[in-house]
Symmetry: D2
Subunit: 135 residues, 4 copies
């Protein structure tokens, strides 16, 4: 299992006319936490992008428990709990203080610049799988 | 069962540096189709909003099958297939021509301006449930 | 002078916690009108993109006169009034019914895939300049 | 004169199919810097919002000098250089390292929950104007 967290101040731009954060705007927050998660085991999304290696989202799911609002600082914990293979599942918990705002996951595969599936980069998987030894 | 569809031209603003539509940007498209779906049985999101009745998303899930790109016209079909009660599940199929780009669903509950759950408005439910008679 | 207009239904996703459309969200609407404007003289943004020819925004300016809200249908008129050379200035008027919501402009230059300035494509400029003959 | 700065990591969600940050996405960054600017003289956007006092953007203008990309950390400096009265002008410089990405400004007025102009709150203006004494 591997875990990382990040804190984000809600932008007014992310709110909607119900006075809360619009549901789709939680996904870029998950992206921010996911970037930190990769950095925690020595991978870097931007370097991979430049090298023509991408990890697009092929599935995502979020459950909204309580709203985040302008003025809130949200903490997003991103975890990989299932041993990753060709597909990587990242799970998220988004909180405002102690209150859970949302939970969910994204699933990723590796593709090249043409969007075609490729084998996961060896060094990336070695670093990541070291957190799942013995499983 | 009730169904409606809408067509949307992909905005360059909705794309990302992988050259395709960013995953979160499919959700506002689902919103557009959802609005048309409500209109199809005589409900109106904007009138409900003004009346202090809201249908926030409490859960959403999308699977991305093939990318939508700038220059594409996407068709979104929104359906309510399960008989709705306090929770309403809307299912989506997003296509580029004949090609499926994404599928998924959103789940909604009724709340008031304070975000507190309320009973579904009677006239709204009468109109909607007329499509599920006999079930 | 050349002119085109497009109508857009405000998305809930485009609103903010003040109950109106967030200022930055007017710019994708200008993009939609700009795309129609190019189509009106036989150019196509998506085809140009595929051919590695881009018209990025190098300057933009908007003045907000009255708010657009969820439930509104906005009409955006895009015009090129100044004879274009290396830089193209597109001017916008965004209205809700008869009421002006915003006015402004964007300025564009031609670049290639590496972001380097290029000469405007000959056929594009011929078609566009035909609307400015005699100036 | 009053000044504040903030650093933001570019989100992949903010990029477009040209491989750079979409022009409209610089405006939420200006919002982040503006929030820090207000905090620097003891004002708080979120508290004002809760109290029914808003500072909407009535005019904005940005010039894009060089692109910001995924992987960049951008620094936004927000300044109020002109003595504020009913209208407040905030000026921005957005840099990637030493390189200027964009410059521009936003103009704000005070409104209440109904969007009607109101007099600037006394304590807000006292704190802000203390930085312009002698002008």
């Amino acid at each position: 299992m591997i875990s990382a967290s990040t804190s984000i101040n809600v932008r007014f731009a992310e709110t909607d006319a119900m006075g809360v954060v619009y549901h789709a705007n939680y996904l870029p927050w998950c992206e921010c936490a996911r970037i930190k998660l990769l950095e925690s085991f020595g991978a870097n999304y931007a370097d991979m992008y430049t090298a023509g290696i991408h990890l697009p989202v092929v599935e995502e799911c979020l459950k909204y428990k309580s709203p985040a609002k302008f003025g809130d600082s949200v903490t997003i914990v991103a975890q990989i709990r299932q041993k990753p293979f060709a597909r990587i599942k990242v799970e998220y918990e988004i909180k405002v203080g102690e209150r859970i705002a949302a939970t969910g996951y994204t699933v990723h595969v590796f593709v090249n610049n043409d969007g075609h599936p490729i084998k996961p980069p060896r060094d990336f998987m070695e670093k990541l799988l070291s957190f799942f030894d013995g499983e």
